[in-house]
Symmetry: C2
Subunit: 237 residues, 2 copies
DNA sequence: GCCCAGTTACGTACAGCGTACGTAGTGAGG
DNA sequence: CCTCACTACGTACGCTGTACGTAACTGGGC
């Protein structure tokens, strides 16, 4: 019997393959891939230990040999997805362009995996691939003459903008998953309620703002503006 | 029997008191207050329909007369807490100072209720008190000569910064709630693992950054810097 | 003043969750 | 070869959100 009541440790510090005993049937990457596939298809809440184990082809409790707590499964997922970054061999020397590229990469990944924004705000930021990404981000900032503290703050702000904006973009669609009616119906209801509230005259500026923007908002343009504001604020001091 | 299988509607569009039938035993504010107290004391995950009903003094299923789905309970909580903003009677005319004040207010509230950042990133942004806050934020921007679209983007960025930074500040403490060991032990383990990883030499810039910052980070100063960068980027165009 | 539709109240029940625990089998180091 | 850490996994517990059925109550229309 293992000392199994979840001892305090980070999953990344425990070796994937134990020194003794039979060879594990699955790798962490395989497990993470199954979990990611489920989350992509049916939402993060569909990722249960039972379902992952089932699709993996083993008993539920066997999964706990690989992943001591469910939270660690999330960490594996984040790490696997962080590996989707296609980092160039080296930065170009134009830190602004490089960081913009990285941010667009992050945005693409998080849009591809809509559950990521939920996990990111819970900050699983120290998996191997996340650290690789952070390291590369800092590398891009080599040409920028700023103390390391400031560089870290810059990277944090950029990642914050990506997470925030993707989350805002996605939230409605994701919320709908757990609802017994359609996304269109939900949207319809919320805009109807909003219109009724604005019609009361209690929120004149909000009403003006809603009335002002005509047609659908270009979310990528909004994102680009926000990102470039952040970058500018560091470029100019 | 009510048409109870959760019909599509926003909770704010359903009247608190029905036209017919017996007088409800509790107000929404009372229910929200109980839920908020539980979340403050034992974390958001401790807020279950059973526990709220129990502390309220009614049967579990009675709660569903007030709150059709648990998500709506969250919405009540956000709204109650959004009311903690002490909005001045009118803006001063200095939009930068006003928005800074609002942001600090939001930050204080979210630190007082550590579960808020989780709910905010799920965007329950259209409760009455949230809208009141948004309207006031826009009011502060009256002196700023910018189209409404830009003003909304500014407010969104400020709120995003608040949420992001408070979430980062709080995440560790909040995560620990669900863990069977102490926050100190958790912190200890994570820093130990980080140190070991950095010692491998695979992340030279990350290591340098960690080595560079001496002593504890002043989170409020970091927040203030980020906030003022965002405000500056709008002040200068 | 009465009636009844619509509401409140709430016990029971179900499907699902994370995971503690016990046991059986396996394979590599001494 | 023995031993013991490890893998595998069935069972069970306490918890969750909530569908459903039933009983009590109450205010508006006649």
């Amino acid at each position: 019997m293992a000392g199994r009541p979840a001892e305090p440790e980070v999953i990344w510090s425990r070796p994937e393959r134990a020194a003794r005993g039979p060879r594990p049937a699955y790798t962490r990457a395989e497990i993470a891939a199954v979990a990611v596939r489920i989350a992509d298809a049916d939402g993060l809440d569909a990722v249960s230990m039972r379902r992952v184990a089932g699709e993996l082809g083993c008993g539920t409790m066997s999964l706990y040999n690989y992943v001591p707590r469910k939270e660690d499964l999330y960490e594996l997922m984040v790490d696997l997805v962080a590996d989707e970054h296609e980092l160039p061999e080296r930065p170009t020397g134009d830190w602004r362009a490089d960081l913009t590229g990285l941010a667009h990469g992050s945005r693409a990944i998080m849009r591809r995996h809509p559950w990521m924004s939920r996990l990111m705000s819970a900050a699983y930021g120290f998996s191997p691939n996340s650290m690789k990404f952070l390291e590369y981000s800092l590398w891009c900032l080599d040409p920028l003459d700023l103390p390391y503290g400031q560089k870290v703050e810059l990277v944090a702000m950029v990642n914050g903008v990506v997470t925030t904006y993707v989350a805002n973009e996605i939230e409605t669609a994701e919320r709908t998953r757990s609802l017994p009616w359609s996304a269109e119906r939900e949207q319809e209801i919320r805009t109807a309620h909003l219109a009724k509230e604005l019609a009361t005259g209690r929120y004149p500026r909000l009403a003006a703002a809603v009335a002002a923007d005509s047609g659908p908002v270009d979310m990528e343009a909004v994102f680009d503006r926000a990102l470039s504001r952040v970058l500018n604020s560091f470029a100019r001091g």
